[in-house]
Subunit: 443 residues, 2 copies
């Protein structure tokens, strides 16, 4: 299907019936002003963050870079349908065709561009599995911006090749917690063997940006503008499905911070708000079940309480998730926009064990041929369950999911799965309860 790259991003804030609770200052708890964010982000992105315009035009310079891999393929998983003997039609949007191998550059390219436009020369960020770090490295290299990446220690060790990829694109990569920042040094002094977490890595990247005038910070998920940049995925999917006269009954995406989930689903949630019937499902690891087990309340975005306080589903900012291989899903919170939609019942959430997720990944790789990243495999687990359900009920549902990234950098996780060394983690209820004692008090 020969479609065009979208000319605009979709901003779901234009279609919300309730306003998004305002983000608050980590020190004072007062609502943030755009000025408060100016230390971390370029003005254009701050405007996008608070905008209620339904569509924001995509600059040609960004579309030119998108054109390296966009529009990404939309494919029907016919072999999987046959394998499952399901009457369901399964479609997937394949974001693994981007040079970094995931959906992340959809926003990385936009963020690097708007930083460059305002003369920013250095950007810091954090990364979990390394998908975001390599996405931003690719984008910064493209626009000639210096990039420093704080990579969650456990992933830094488990996925050395994502680190190599970032270095090929010219970034400096530090294992987090690192000795580069006060926040990092503090954690290391308490636990020299800390596996790290996205929360800790965010603290380090934010601290470095906040303490250097020539440096801004870039976040790979959670924020409104980040989710909005990802909507090229869902917009393309709608255009690609049109000729097939197909509209999904169920839209599924894995959910860590929420960006790939928002990217595939928000354009469909837009239809749902207008009365269209469609189920939208976010899939999480049972080891970090933010939407399924967390509280919807104000919490810090990071461990060191440097990032804004936002209203979201959270397991508490001090919660450090178990060392699952889906590093991109090891975040204690979830995007405020995704949280609000979940709180309003517009979306659903499911959580799965790591091994059942890899069983789904193994099935998909053998049947369809493509090897999913552990994050994307969470979506596939859910897809297979719903397709099998259709087999029982005989319903010919159309299921669309976001194949957010390939697993070429996660093969050590597959090795662990095949050799029976993959551990399952029960919902860490006690840890979460303890963590939730440390929520900020908002008047």
């Amino acid at each position: 299907m020969n479609i065009e790259i979208p000319k605009k991003w979709y901003n779901i804030q234009a279609d919300l019936d309730t306003q998004l609770p305002p983000p608050r200052h980590p020190a004072t708890g007062e609502p943030l002003t755009p000025d408060d964010l100016a230390a971390l982000f370029p003005k254009e992105l701050i405007m996008q963050e608070v905008s209620t315009e339904r569509y924001i035009p995509i600059p040609d310079e960004i579309n030119e870079v998108y054109s390296i891999w966009r529009p990404s393929p939309l494919r029907r998983a016919r072999r999987l349908e046959e394998h499952l003997k399901t009457p369901a039609k399964i479609y997937y949007k394949y974001e693994g065709v981007s040079p970094p191998g995931s959906h992340k550059p959809n926003t990385a390219v936009a963020q690097a561009y708007f930083n460059l436009k305002e003369g920013v020369e250095k950007i810091t960020t954090e990364t979990g599995a390394g998908q975001w770090g390599s996405g931003l490295s690719f984008a910064c290299n493209r626009f000639g911006i210096d990039c420093k990446v704080f990579m969650v220690r456990i992933s830094y060790d488990q996925k050395p090749y994502r680190k190599s990829l970032m270095q090929i694109w010219g970034s400096q990569v530090y294992p987090s917690p690192s000795d580069q920042t006060q926040s990092g040094r503090k954690i290391l002094s308490e636990d020299p063997d800390s596996p790290g977490s996205l929360g800790i890595a965010i603290s380090e990247a934010v601290e470095m940006a906040a303490t250097h005038d020539d440096t801004k910070y870039s976040l790979g998920s959670v924020l409104n503008h980040v989710l909005m940049h990802q909507t090229v995925i869902g917009q393309e999917a709608q255009e690609q499905l049109a000729p097939e006269e197909a509209y999904p009954d169920i839209v599924i995406g894995c959910c860590g911070g929420g960006s790939n989930f928002a990217g595939i689903s928000f354009p469909f949630v837009k239809d749902k708000i207008k009365g269209k019937e469609v189920r939208v499902i976010a899939v999480e690891p049972l080891a970090c079940p933010t939407l399924t087990k967390g509280l919807y309340t104000y919490d810090f975005g990071d461990t060191a309480q440097l990032a804004p306080i936002v209203k979201m589903y959270t397991l508490g900012h001090t919660f450090i998730p178990p060392k699952i291989h889906a590093g991109g899903l090891r975040y204690h919170g979830v995007a405020p926009l995704v949280s609000l939609l979940h709180n309003q019942g517009l979306i659903e959430a499911e959580a799965y064990y790591q091994t059942e997720v890899f069983e789904a990944a193994d099935t998909f790789a053998k049947v369809e041929g493509l090897v999913p990243a552990p994050e994307a495999a969470h979506a596939i687990r859910s897809v297979i369950n719903h397709a099998v359900e259709c087999k029982k009920t005989g319903e010919e549902k159309t299921i669309l999911f976001n194949f957010s990234g390939h697993g070429y950098f996660d093969l050590s996780a597959y090795d662990a799965f095949y050799s029976g060394q993959l551990l399952d983690y029960e919902y860490p209820e006690a840890l979460v309860k303890e963590s939730l004692r440390h929520l900020p008090v908002i008047q």
Copy 2:
């Protein structure tokens, strides 16, 4: 450019003015009959091997699998042109979009299909860097064939993740030399630390197929039918260039056994035979310079003298190339068809050091965004040199090259390059001279 997948393979044997010297039996030295090959290959592939039909139709079942990633993208490397400030136009065909990440499945899918059609249940093969092994594993998994892969030891150790990929697709992978075959055990007894070579791995795979009735053998390069299956690359490139009214002045491909080189170039050599002006360049490692330094003579295709004797450029079947990272280019010979064209002056050859190849790979990754495999980087080294030459002469040449595979499984080689640990190897003249003493005597 929305083009169709080719409906037929191009067989260059139809356009040769001299017949290809016949392959000979490794034991008797007598010309091989199709029956001699029946122990190793299914009849349909043997027919293709000796066919002089110009085109051979591609079965729908094969095109259906091709459609997962074909037609592969043809892109213009505008950023590289600007970076080099060259008037040359640089186009590349990107084969890294296939699930195994290289051009190899173009023939793997065809070979697995024709084996299945004749009821073959088991296939053995060898692999260097793992590109071919993962290509055949993908194809065998697709058609439900049991696949055993002998992987050159040095690559087995350097590229563990390509091995993981083969295992995901259900193959058994053995480091070669292995204890699974007589040939392997013989080498190990002489040199327990042997890094292996394609020649040795071929011996093991051929031996296992020849000694098991239910098992056939599959080769990833060298043979006529393998090269023919790859011509979908060049045929697509010609169709994709047509709307741009572009025809290459130079066509470039890296060359180990010769299959990706033949795939991109043979449809253009066809035009050249008819009088069209086009330079066709095969690029090799200086550590294994078969076309540039070898003899054009009859030699064994493998170390243990089990594979047919063919007339080709060779460094001698006992020559074991230095441990360069471009494992797919570590073969003592080159395809008889490629050899004949070179001997007739229809194609040229160039050889480069490993580090200058990685310098080109680094440039391409940073400027164009895609990370090439070390094999493909050999072509890029040549492309850059010719583009820089155009800058000096001011000639606006059109250069087309085959980006045969991505480097996501070769990042350890990039790490070695950046850390200055990458070794260069001079042309191993003494080793080659010694090896060439052991050529077979053909009456």
